[in-house]
Symmetry: C2
Subunit: 508 residues, 2 copies
């Protein structure tokens, strides 16, 4: 139940900013917190000694974020076992004026779940709230506690003949509570939406230590302000999500995947329009991969099979989820590709002939970030722009980067159907990665985010702000919007005790 | 551009509570407001005299809600022509401490857009903000101003080869701003979601008269608190929505409708599960109609064709939206119905053979509330429960009503696929409707809402709280939830000037 550290082998494409672990100085970790600390003593009385961690060894895995950018310290790590105990822990922290950092699987990519370096904060781990409280197949809902691992929620749905479509890199270790707190995205947003759109109801412990039971499994409910969506995506700064009612779907009869080679992102966009027109909501995946992305995979994972006889500028991965049959899905693909060939949109295409072949296509996609890591340090951005502007965004920003950092190699891929790209910059071939990053990282981040803003986009499509992007967000958002955010924070958490220093700074 | 009064002939099934217009005493209307009123004078200077209505005649259509339950008075009706003018009007009202009542098409069913009887409030009509600002087919988005009529948004989408799926009774006169403020539902929620789920971004004038430009057309954006969903459904009590970015979809190649006769709501639920399994997201409509509903249609609209040779306890209307072809949709239906017959689930079924036949099936459904009005005064409820509990809810609540009000006739129909029923009570055959309502209305409202709460449902599925349901909401919601709502209202509108007395009472 501890946040996993080494075992995560998912798609790290979702990370952004550079992997700078070896650039940071590791802070000295105190050997243990003080058990005579009256806050700790009260927590032990409420939660039991085994659920209040205070030694450096016990706390270690909770204090460092997944990318090892932030190495924090804590007064204690609290591991309540129920919603009531979460509420009790929040009330104890309030009495002692201790700030709390809620934490799920600790797989976040923006440092939102890591305590700061002061040693005054306490981590509030939701890891022991693991129950699937109920599943209602006829209502297509599942009620789960915040600490449920995403893969377990998927499994529970499957066992009831249903699909829980949220799927992302860290699904083997991230928790649904963390998915909700960061409004996670992943590979199935095109048809099913983000975590926000998959949630019908929440249970939340407020900063005052009260329990809000909003666990409603309703498709329609208009009886007041939308509290649910205020807590979703707030990264634990407005309260602690302890349970949720999530939407389920019928299991599709078949999922079929195809790869289509196209000449440019512009052509990929035309293919997206064609595919959505032909398949409508059956189109559940549409991922873009540039040739250089696949070249990196060829270079570092030569055993992976590249399905085309020659290289092409861009390759699109398409996925159909079909409630009828595999034959029907394959027929749809074939008709679609025929039109695309006739229109000169697609240069080459291959439809997976088996589940194994489908899996192999996804593997290609998922090995891009792994190959990129093998290639060396790089600069990552998780951005979104209106889908119609993606081609222009890439052309425009690529040109700026080429001028600013000659020789930089662009590694661009991602969820094109959602307008969400991993727009990453690799050092010039054979260059010194660390020197390149030291010289260019800040400049290129600013350049990319300014281009995102000019294209009416988002500087964090699916990873949240955490601690990493607060300054960039403050620089790129309007004063009115930042003011509204501060008003909400002040109203709901007037003492600034919930995850201070995340999402918006300066409150505590 | 005035809110229409007589021309609305849509499906009034969406009304709830009783039609009590003839039970109310019409308040005396003053002949005109005072043009020397310094607030009015300042509004005239900012908006022009023709956009500040002060005579009783000019204001009349803005002061009474659609169901004529609330007959208000106003200091003036303001009709700004741009977002800047809305902001200016809000700032003028703040300086004079005048409360504002935002109003779209004035078709709301809970009295949320009507001023109170004091004559101190001003109506802020969004009717002149009518522009379709832009449409981006490749991004599947349309940016519209709040005063756009819903049907015009549908038309603009269609002209660009796209579908804007929101569809409801008042679509010929309601505005998108009002749809957003009330999070309207309608007949296409099953696949496309409520207005909330169709919205990507908003422009809002805050109670301080600032303009928040959140007009982002992004599928993924995690850069702070979800302000958008806070304003959606808040019925103008937290700010004024002036424009929105809404989602569009590919136009389906065909929409095909079928009617299926079943023995009970329980059987209808089983059919829903079968249909969703077979058609997945292609199932875009699933409406329930009891035999007594159709009996009322036969009685009052004898020219309407009833498609079955005999009567059945319940009839379900199913709609498929297909991106392939009509033939494919019809084939899907036939396969589905065959299984349903084999399972003994469906007693009889007919698939529409033409667009005209499809339309006729929807007409039957839409004539139920009209027939109910012909039958006389009645008590209406717009409720939702988890889909799995609908059968039990109907059995349980019907029995309670039969015991409490012997002879009462149940008129139960609605959006079964969303768990949303119009659960209406008609007086006993040949009874005195007014006497029945006077005796039973309050008791039956309470009985129904208590049953809704016991079934973990919502007392207002798609109409909001407005002024009508504040007390019932306060009675049935937790203190924690009401407290959070008040905290938000207090934080965003500390002077209580935005639509006071709606959604939550007691702030001003």
């Amino acid at each position: 139940m501890n946040p996993p550290t080494d075992s995560r082998t998912g798609h790290p494409d979702s990370s952004d900013g550079s992997n700078l672990s070896d650039l940071s100085d590791r802070a000295a970790v105190p050997s243990r917190s003080n058990p005579a600390d009256p806050f700790v003593a009260e927590c032990i009385a409420a939660l039991g000694a085994s659920n209040v961690l205070i030694t450096a060894t016990d706390m270690a895995s909770y204090l460092t974020d997944w990318r090892k950018r932030y190495i924090g310290q804590a007064r204690a790590v609290l591991r309540p076992g129920s919603t009531e105990e979460v509420a009790e822990a929040v009330r104890i922290a309030a009495r002692h004026d201790v700030a709390l950092v809620p934490q799920g699987g600790n797989t976040g990519l923006s440092g939102g779940a890591t305590p700061d370096e002061s040693g005054t904060q306490a981590v509030l781990s939701l890891g022991r709230l693991r129950a699937v409280r109920s599943i209602d197949p006829a209502n297509n809902t599942i009620t789960v506690e915040a600490g449920c691992i995403l893969a377990e929620v998927q499994d529970a749905a499957r066992a009831a003949g249903r699909l829980f479509p949220l799927s992302l890199a860290a699904e083997g270790s991230c928790t649904i509570g963390g998915n909700l707190a960061t409004n996670a995205g992943g590979t199935a947003v095109l048809c099913y939406g983000t975590t926000r759109e998959l949630c019908l109801g929440l249970e939340v412990v407020t900063p005052a230590g009260e329990i809000w039971n909003g666990l409603r499994g309703l498709r329609k409910d208009n009886t007041g302000y939308d509290l649910r969506d205020l807590f979703i995506g707030a990264e634990g700064t407005l309260g602690v999500i302890t349970a949720a009612v999530m939407k389920l779907y019928p299991q599709p009869a078949a999922q079929v995947t195809a790869l289509a080679a196209v000449s440019s992102p512009h052509a990929a966009l035309k293919l997206l329009e064609l595919a959505q027109g032909a398949a409508g909501p059956l189109l559940t995946g549409f991922e873009l991969m540039s040739d250089f992305c696949l070249e990196l995979v060829r270079r570092h994972f030569p055993q992976m099979r590249y399905p085309f006889a020659q290289r092409y500028p861009q390759v699109v991965l398409l996925e159909l989820s079909d409630n009828e049959s595999e034959a029907h899905a394959r027929g749809l693909f074939e008709g679609m590709m025929e039109t695309a060939f006739d229109d000169g949109l697609v240069l080459d295409a291959v439809v997976a002939e088996s589940l194994t072949a489908s899996r192999a296509f996804w593997d290609l996609r998922e090995h891009i970030p792994l190959a990129q890591a093998e290639e060396g340090l790089n600069i990552k951005h998780d951005i979104a722009v209106p889908i119609s502007r993606i081609g222009h965004f890439i052309d425009y920003t690529d040109a700026l980067i080429a001028a600013a950092a000659p020789g930089a190699r662009m590694v661009v891929f991602g969820h094109l159907g959602d307008g969400n790209l991993h727009y990453n910059v690799q050092t010039p071939e054979g260059g010194d990665a660390r020197a390149f990053l030291n010289r260019y990282q800040e400049q290129l981040n600013r350049l990319v985010y300014d281009s995102v803003v000019a294209h009416h986009g988002s500087i964090s499509a699916e990873h949240g702000l955490g601690r990493l992007k607060i300054e960039d967000n403050a620089r790129t958002k309007s004063a009115v919007e930042l003011g509204l955010m501060r008003t909400l924070k002040q109203a709901l958490d007037p003492h600034g005790r919930m995850n201070p220093g995340k999402v918006i700074g300066g409150v505590r």
